[in-house]
Assembly symmetry: C2
């Protein structure tokens, strides 16, 4: 642009200072090149007046949201997934949805996100712009703004590429009863849909696997689905999104903290055939594979059917099912009734041999 527009904050950069197409160390220096990066890539995508202030912090009025005693929820998530783009998503989608979902699991509606980028020198600016576009689209879908950010550049050759850390602030309504009642035997464990999609989408790209049906990441913002669940059952005991470590890690954490046993039914757990096939090929258990757009809900038995109906009425919960129950036996242990009629312990995974899945 030859003229700077009246809305354009800060420095005008009629022509790029460097005509290179890659991130340079100087982009992280806090000078004109840093500003140019912000003005060319971040501001147009995330367009909002709070971000455009480019202050050290963004200041927002949340009086209305907090009226009547709402509480603040805060969360943070670093994202290092490789490759940056995969079927059904990108690091940009994950960076937004991951933090939105962390807030949603506490019953909070997100009101603002912040994002910090660590770029490797040499990263194509086109890749960065594409990721940022995906973040902006994900933020629009989730109904939240990215109001502050930061960018650092590290030296070429690290193979680091790009990481994005997002942090979120949300409001938990004063009336929320989520998590206020203990989990007890008889409560039902619901899953909002198929499991293992995200992890296997990333893995299948990395391993160059081809299936009849492509495996797509389930990356999505769960705020709306949570709203439906809590409307159907304000006494919902707990919500958890089974990301790293998968359903196995989430259920073990729940059993451990609530000091209850959990029993799940293998036959009830929905797994896409392509995901099941990929897991078998790679020797992985879908219960251990990361999800990025699914949740587990623990609800009182009498609310299970109404909550399932509410979930199924939402596009992200169409395949919601009950997968198990809370039991008085074997406290802190998760047991699965297998499809062939036996039982096995679902252990807390020790680690994960698949780095950079989210």
């Amino acid at each position: 642009m030859a003229e700077r527009s009246p809305e354009s904050p800060g420095f005008s950069c009629p022509t790029p200072l460097l005509d290179h197409e890659h991130v340079a160390i100087a982009h992280g220096g806090g000078g004109l090149l840093s500003r140019e990066l912000v003005e060319r890539i971040f501001l147009p995508a995330f367009s909002n007046p709070l971000l455009a202030e480019l202050g050290d912090a963004a200041v927002l009025d949340a009086t209305e949201e907090l009226a009547g005693g709402g509480r603040l929820a805060v969360s943070i998530d670093a994202h290092v997934v490789r490759p940056l783009f995969f079927p059904g998503g990108s690091i940009g989608d994950l960076a937004v949805n991951g933090t939105v979902n962390d807030l949603a699991m506490s019953g909070a509606r997100p009101i603002a996100l912040t994002a910090a980028f660590i770029l490797e020198e040499g990263l194509p600016l086109a890749d960065l712009a594409a990721v940022v576009e995906r973040m902006a689209a994900a933020a629009r879908r989730a109904g939240v703004r990215i109001v502050a950010g930061d960018t650092k550049v590290i030296e070429r050759g690290s193979g680091h590429g790009l990481s994005i850390t997002t942090s979120g602030v949300g409001i938990v309504p004063a009336t929320s009863r989520l998590g206020r009642e203990p989990i007890r035997p008889g409560d039902v464990v619901l899953a909002s849909g198929t499991i293992g999609d995200h992890g296997m989408a990333v893995m299948s790209v990395r391993e160059g696997l081809e299936f009849d049906a492509a495996i797509e990441s389930d990356s999505a913002p769960l705020t709306g689905l949570v709203r439906e669940i809590l409307a159907a059952c304000p006494a919902t005991r707990l919500l958890r999104d089974p990301t790293r470590g998968g359903v196995a890690a989430s259920l073990n954490e729940i059993a451990e903290r609530a000091k209850v046993g959990i029993e799940i039914d293998e036959a009830a757990i929905p797994v896409e055939p392509a995901v099941a096939a990929a897991c078998e090929l790679l020797g992985l258990d879908p219960l251990l594979v990361a999800n990025e757009g699914k949740l587990l809900a623990i609800v009182p038995q009498k609310s299970a059917e109404p909550v399932l109906a509410a979930m199924r009425s939402h596009e992200l919960g169409r395949r919601a099912v009950a997968i198990g129950r809370v039991v008085a036996d074997h406290p802190r242990v998760v047991v699965m009734r297998t499809a062939v009629g036996g039982t096995r312990i679902v252990a807390m995974p020790v680690g994960d041999q698949l780095p950079r899945i989210c």
Copy 2:
């Protein structure tokens, strides 16, 4: 510990699952090893009930703080400084103080921080623990809690080591007038102390420089100093901490956004002799060097002396001085009267050839 203490949340890890002394990929997998890292390193250092919940998000009651219409300030900062420890600070100090100061510059008192760690496989756990200790100490000094976190691990060999992104939430009191009045000619530019200390402390370690007096980073939380300034002059126009890009970048940004000229006096700008010597040796201008515990304040002329007195009464403002003024001439341009009687333009730096200074 042979017994788990009753307060200990989550999994008990009586003995480490792996007896290695370095970060492993599995520490980032969301399973037992992730939990062990959290329980051995993060929870003891950051000890607080909100973090100990280990939920997806931390939920806090800010009703009291927000009563009467306080606004929320949010900020985020990624930290990639090398080396991890340097005279006067560490990446841990920077990670806390950087975000605390971003909030402070908007007149906010921090109420909660969140922290995300990206670890390189092979990082000595002792280094991580030492950094985390420094973060905890910095948080105590700043009077803020780290209430939520995340850890990811990336593959060995990247040279990435450790980065820490922190995000903060603060409250701007309803009565705050900071930034509500425009900057005008006649306003005075104050600096809270010597400039260039942080950047030259890091550089002197990297370059192996030795001076008679060691150069120490000025990393410190500025919340208390800001409180003194705003008490002395509620009509303070603007506060800015001159980090990356130094005083030159901050003043250029201020001049650009307020569409005013700024004139500073070289002789008035306090620089430690060792910093001046190091800058001369390395061919650097102290105006371009990063600070991590200093601020610039623009105040009405009549308030300059009272604000300086208030700053000097605070341990972080003992060497506060007026370094210049806002002028009607040369809008958007920063000019320096040099020590030898000339004038020169202080340009916005283009980039920074020193990566990983913060």
